[in-house]
Amino acid sequence: MLPVKEAGTTIAVATQNACKACMPLGACLAYRGVEGAVPFLHGPQGCATYMRRFLIGHFREPMDIACSSFSEETAIFGGSADIHTGLDNVAKAYHPAMIGIATTCLAETIGEDMGLMLHQHAEKNADKASPLVVAASTPSYSGTHADGFHAATCALVNALAETDAAQAGRADVVCFPNMVSPADLRYLKEVLADFGLCHVLLPDYSETLDRPIAGEYERIPKGGVPISAIRGAGAARASVTLGSAFRPGQHPGAALLAKCGVPSLSVGLPVGIRGSDLLFQQLEDLAGKPTPEKHAAERGRLIDTYVDAHKYLYGKRAVVYGEEDLVTGIASFLDEIGVVPVVCASGGRSGGMAEALSATVSMQRGDIQVLEDADFVEIGEAAEAAKADLLIGNSRGFGLSRRLDIPLIRVGMPVHDRIGAQRIQLLGYRGAQALCDRIANAVIARDQERSEPGYMTM
C-alpha cells in the first residue's frame, strides 16, 4: 500500500484553504438530478445562498435551493413551524414532484427530529396531493460535499426503491454515477443505451444543469431521473456503482442491495483504459453482448492518442486533488500515460483512497504521496517538494498554479474561472481521450511559450 501522509502533520489545527465543501452542497446537487425535484435546506438562509452561488457559478445555470430560513427563535425552539411553512410555500410556488431536504449544521446541532416533522407534515397534508418529501442528514461537521452527495443518493434509494413485482422488468441496471459532470452523465446514458440496457441513472442532472436557452425560465428545469424510475430501481437485475470512497452506510449500491436485494457491482470511477475496461466488462456481462463497435473504436483511438502523446508526457509529475474518487480515477489514468501522480490529495477522509490508489497506480516509485483530509497549504507544500510539473484539479488550485508557475488542468468542482464546466469529460474512453488531449496540450503549450525561436511545430 502507498504510504499515507498523516493528516495534519503540517497544519496542526486549522484548515487553511480547504479542499472540500460541505455536505448539504453535495446533497442539493444530487436532488437536482431527480425529475421535478426542488432541493430544500432545513436551516438558515445563508447556507442556501452560499450553496446556490457555488453551484450556479460552476454550472452557469439557475439553481434554486429553498430553505426554512431559521431565525434565532427557531434556533432555540426548533424549526418545526418553519419547515411546514417552507414546504407548503415551495409546493405552491413550484408544484414539485418531490422536495429533497438536506439538513444543515444548525438543524443537526439543535437535534431536529426530521422523521417526526415529516411525519407530521404528511399527516397535516393527508388530504392533499402534496409532493413527496425525502430527507438526508447532512451536517457539515460529519463529512464533505462528496459524502453529502452519496448520503442524498442513498436517501433516495431508501425512501423510494421498491421490490414490488409490478416494477419488475422496468430496468436492467441501475447506475450510480457519482459526482460527475453533465457531459459524463450523458455519456454514461449513451453507453448504457448502446448496450441495449434499460437503465436508471441516479442521480441524473445531465439536462437540469446544462439546459438549452429557452427564452423562458423554467422554475424546475426539465430532465432528471423520474421518481417512478427510482421506484423501479428496486426490481433491477443489478446496480453498478462508480467509485469506492464511501463512508459507512453511504454506498448507494449497498443500500439498494440491503433494501431490495439488487446485486451490487462496483468499479472505480472509470477514467482511462483500465478503469473503462472494467466498466465495459461489467456491461458486457450484464447485456450478454460484446462492447458495441462505436465504443471499441473509441478505445482504439484513445490508445492511438496515448502513443501520439507519450513523448510529451512520459515522466511528467502531476499533483491531483479533489474528491477522493476523482483523484483515484485520474491517478490511474495518469499512470497509463506515463505521468507520475506525485501527490494525490483530497479533503475527504473516507479512509479508502490510499488502498484504491495502490490497486490502480502501478508505479511503486516511492515518491507518490497520498494526502487525506488535506488542505491547499499541505497540497502546496507537497507539490513544491515533489517538483510537480502539472496540477490537475478544480479552480481552487489556481493560486498554487500561479505560485509554482505550472499549468492547471481544470477538472472536478468548482470550475469557477472557465466556462463549460458542465461539459468537462472524464469518463470512459471518450473522457480519457479529451483529458489526454488537454493534458498533453497544456505541456506542449508551455514548452512552446518558452521556446526561444517560437517554434510552430512542436
Binding site: I11, V13, A14, T15, Q16, N17, A18, K20, A21, C22, P24, P44, Q45, G46, C47, A48, T49, Y50, M51, R53, I56, R60, E61, P62, D64, I65, A66, C67, S68, S69, F70, S71, E72, E73, T74, A75, I83, L87, D88, N89, K92, A93, T104, C105, L106, T109, S140, Y141, S142, R211, I213, A214, G215, E216, Y217, E218, R219, G347, R396, G399
Partner: protein, 549 residues
C-alpha cells in the same frame, strides 16, 4: 454593426405600475400577498410612501439574501489584508467565503503581509460540536500567530458555535493577552438578524470597540478623510485613491477596501468621514462622530456626476481655495474623457430600460450611471436594506425595532475624555445646513426615482420573473444567483455584487468602464438568437399563476 432588429426593445408604453404591482401579488396565497404588498411601492416623489424592509424572509420563498456571517466576515472584514480571519465552525462557511467577493488589495511593499488569499477555518468535527470547540479555536489562533505573526486576528462564529456555547470572546481575550496582538471576535452566527445586514452591524460594533482609535502615530496631511462603505470590488477603491491623491486629499482609511489594521486604528485622526454605502457602515460613522467629534456626510462615487458632486462637497467642507482649485481641475480633466465616452455610447443605449435589485446602496447609486447613457430605471430594490435606505434617514425614529433587530447590540458611545475634538463647531455646522449642505443625512433611493417607477424590497424569484415578463428591460442588474435565470429569459444580467469579471466602476474612469460594459451587453449579438416568449405576444402579460389558491 450587429443587426439589432431582433434585440430586445423597450416596451412602450411601459405597463401601468399599479396594475403591474397587482399582477405581482395577485397570484400569491393571500397570507403571502398581504406581507409582500408592503414591500412594494409605486414611486411618487411628491408623496413619499412607506415601504416595508428588513423583514424576515418567509420560509420556502427563495430569497437572494445571505446571512449575518456573510455580511460580517465576507463583506466588512474580508477586504482588509493584514488581519487573519479565522472562521470558527464546520468547513462550509469558511470555504464559501474564501476569496469569493472579488475585492482587491495592494500591499505597499513586499515585506507587507496579505492574508486575503488565505481562508482559515477550525473545520469543526462532530466531537467538537458535542464537547465544545474552544480548545481547538485557541490552538488555531496560536497556530495562525506562529505561522504569520499578524498584527491582528479576528474570529467569526458560525451557526453551531452560538448554540453549543463556545465563548469566542473569552478565548480571544485570553489569546490577546497571551500573544500581545489584537485578537477579537464576532458573534455573527448566520441565524442572527434577517440578512447580511445584521452582520454589517455586528462588524461595525466590534471594529469600533476593538480597533478604531488604538493608533497613536499621527497622520500627515492637510485634508484627512476616511472613506466608509467602499469595498474595492473590481478595484473601485484604487480609482478613488488616485482621485483623492490628485486633489490633495489624504485618505486615512477605507472601511473596508484595500484596507489595513493600521488604517482602521488611526481612523479617529481624520477630520471627515465620507459614507459611501450608508447601509453597511453608517453605525461606525455615527459612533466615531459621538466619540471623536468627526462629522460625516453621504457621498456617492458611482456615476461621473455623482463623483464630481462628492469631490466638490469634500472641498467645500475643508473650505480651502487650493483644494477647491485642484479638485475642479481634476474634475475638468476627467469630465473630458467621460464626455467623449458618453457621446460614443449614449446613442447606442438611449431610451433603453434597466432594473436593479441588489445590495443596500448599489441599486440606488447605479441608477446615476444608467441616466448618464440615457437609460431609464423602471424598477429597483434592495436585497438587505432598511427603510432609511429607501425613504431617507428622516424615517429612522419611525422604524419599529423588532425581535430580529433587538438581538444585535447597540453600543453606547460617549465622548472620549482626551480625543474628542469637534472638527466643526455647532455654529459652523448650522451655517452649512443653512446652505443646504447636510451632514448625517441620506435621502434614500425612492425620492430620486421617477414617478410611476417601482421600488420592491427583497424581491423574490417569482416576482423577478413576472416583472421581466411585463417590462422586458434591456438589462437587469442583480447577482450571480439571479444571473442565469434572468438570461434564460433572454435578458442580459449585470452582476453588481462582483461586476461579473469587470470593473472598476467607481469614479470617472469607472463610469466609462460601466458605459462600455453595458453597451456590450445590451447590444450583444447573442440575444438576437433567442426568441423570448413575449415576442409573439402583442401586449405585456399581466396575469400569472403562482399557486392553486
Amino acid at each position: 454593426m450587429p443587426d439589432t432588429d431582433n434585440l430586445i426593445k423597450t416596451v412602450t408604453p411601459l405597463p401601468d405600475p399599479e396594475a403591474a404591482k397587482e399582477a405581482l401579488l395577485k397570484s400569491y396565497p393571500t397570507k403571502v400577498a398581504r406581507k409582500r404588498t408592503k414591500h412594494m411601492v409605486v414611486n411618487d416623489p411628491a408623496t413619499l410612501s412607506a415601504i416595508q424592509a428588513n423583514a424576515r424572509t418567509i420560509p420556502g420563498i427563495i430569497t437572494q439574501r445571505g446571512c449575518s456571517y456573510a455580511g460580517c466576515k465576507g463583506v466588512v472584514l474580508g477586504p482588509t489584508r493584514d488581519i487573519i480571519n479565522i472562521t470558527h465552525g464546520p468547513i462550509g462557511c469558511g470555504y464559501y467565503s474564501w476569496l469569493t467577493r472579488r475585492n482587491q488589495t495592494r500591499t505597499e511593499s513586499d515585506a507587507e503581509h496579505n492574508y486575503i488569499p488565505y481562508c482559515f477555518s477550525t473545520d469543526m468535527q462532530e466531537q467538537e460540536i458535542v464537547f465544545g470547540g474552544e480548545k481547538k479555536l485557541e490552538a488555531a489562533i496560536q497556530e495562525a500567530y506562529d505561522l504569520f505573526h499578524p498584527k491582528a486576528i479576528a474570529v467569526f462564529a458560525t451557526c453551531p458555535v452560538g448554540l453549543i456555547g463556545d465563548d469566542i470572546h473569552q478565548v480571544s481575550k485570553r489569546m490577546k493577552e497571551k500573544l500581545g496582538i489584537n485578537v477579537f471576535a464576532f458573534s455573527c452566527e448566520g441565524y442572527r438578524g434577517v440578512s447580511q445586514s445584521a452582520g454589517h452591524h455586528i462588524a461595525n460594533n466590534q471594529l469600533f470597540k476593538h480597533v478604531i482609535g488604538r493608533g497613536t502615530t499621527p497622520v500627515e496631511g492637510k485634508f484627512r478623510i476616511n472613506l466608509l462603505g467602499e469595498y474595492n470590488i473590481g478595484g473601485d477603491a484604487f480609482v478613488l485613491e488616485d482621485l483623492f491623491e490628485r486633489c490633495g486629499i489624504t485618505l486615512v482609511s477605507t472601511f473596508s477596501g484595500n484596507s489595513t489594521v493600521d488604517g482602521f486604528e488611526r481612523a479617529h485622526m481624520a477630520d471627515l468621514n465620507c459614507v459611501m454605502c450608508h447601509r453597511s457602515i453608517n453605525y461606525v460613522a455615527d459612533m466615531i462622530e459621538k466619540k471623536y467629534g468627526i462629522p460625516w456626510f453621504k457621498v456617492n462615487f458611482i456615476g461621473a456626476n455623482s463623483s464630481a458632486k462628492s469631490l466638490r462637497r469634500i472641498a467645500q467642507y475643508f473650505e480651502n481655495d487650493e483644494l477647491t482649485a485642484r479638485t475642479e481641475q481634476v474634475i475638468a480633466e476627467e469630465n473630458e474623457k467621460v464626455a467623449a465616452a458618453q457621446s460614443r455610447i449614449r446613442p447606442r443605449c438611449e431610451g433603453k430600460t434597466a432594473m436593479l435589485f441588489v445590495g443596500g446602496s448599489r441599486a440606488h447609486h447605479y441608477q446615476d450611471l444608467f441616466k448618464e447613457i440615457g437609460m431609464k430605471t423602471v424598477a429597483a430594490g434592495y436585497e438587505f436594506a432598511h427603510r432609511d435606505d429607501y425613504e431617507g434617514r428622516r424615517v429612522l425614529p419611525d422604524i419599529k425595532v423588532d425581535a430580529d433587530s433587538r438581538n444585535i447590540e447597540e453600543v453606547t458611545v460617549e465622548q472620549d475624555a482626551e480625543l474628542y475634538n469637534p472638527r466643526k463647531s455647532a455654529d459652523e455646522i448650522a451655517a452649512y445646513e443653512a446652505r443646504e449642505f447636510h451632514f448625517n443625512d441620506y435621502d434614500g433611493m425612492m425620492p430620486e426615482m421617477e414617478e410611476g417607477t417601482l421600488s420592491i424590497d427583497d424581491i423574490s424569484h417569482h416576482e423577478t420573473e413576472r416583472l421581466i415578463e411585463m417590462y422586458r428591460p434591456a438589462v437587469f442588474c442583480a447577482g450571480i444567483k439571479e444571473k442565469y435565470a434572468v438570461q434564460k429569459m433572454g435578458v442580459p444580467c449585470k452582476q453588481l455584487h462582483s461586476y461579473d469579471y469587470g470593473g472598476p466602476y467607481a469614479g470617472f474612469q469607472g463610469a466609462i468602464n460601466f458605459y462600455e460594459d453595458i453597451d456590450r451587453m445590451v447590444n450583444a449579438r447573442a440575444w438576437a438568437f433567442i426568441d423570448p416568449p413575449w415576442k409573439t405576444r402583442t401586449s405585456p402579460k399581466l396575469t400569472a399563476s403562482y399557486g392553486d389558491q
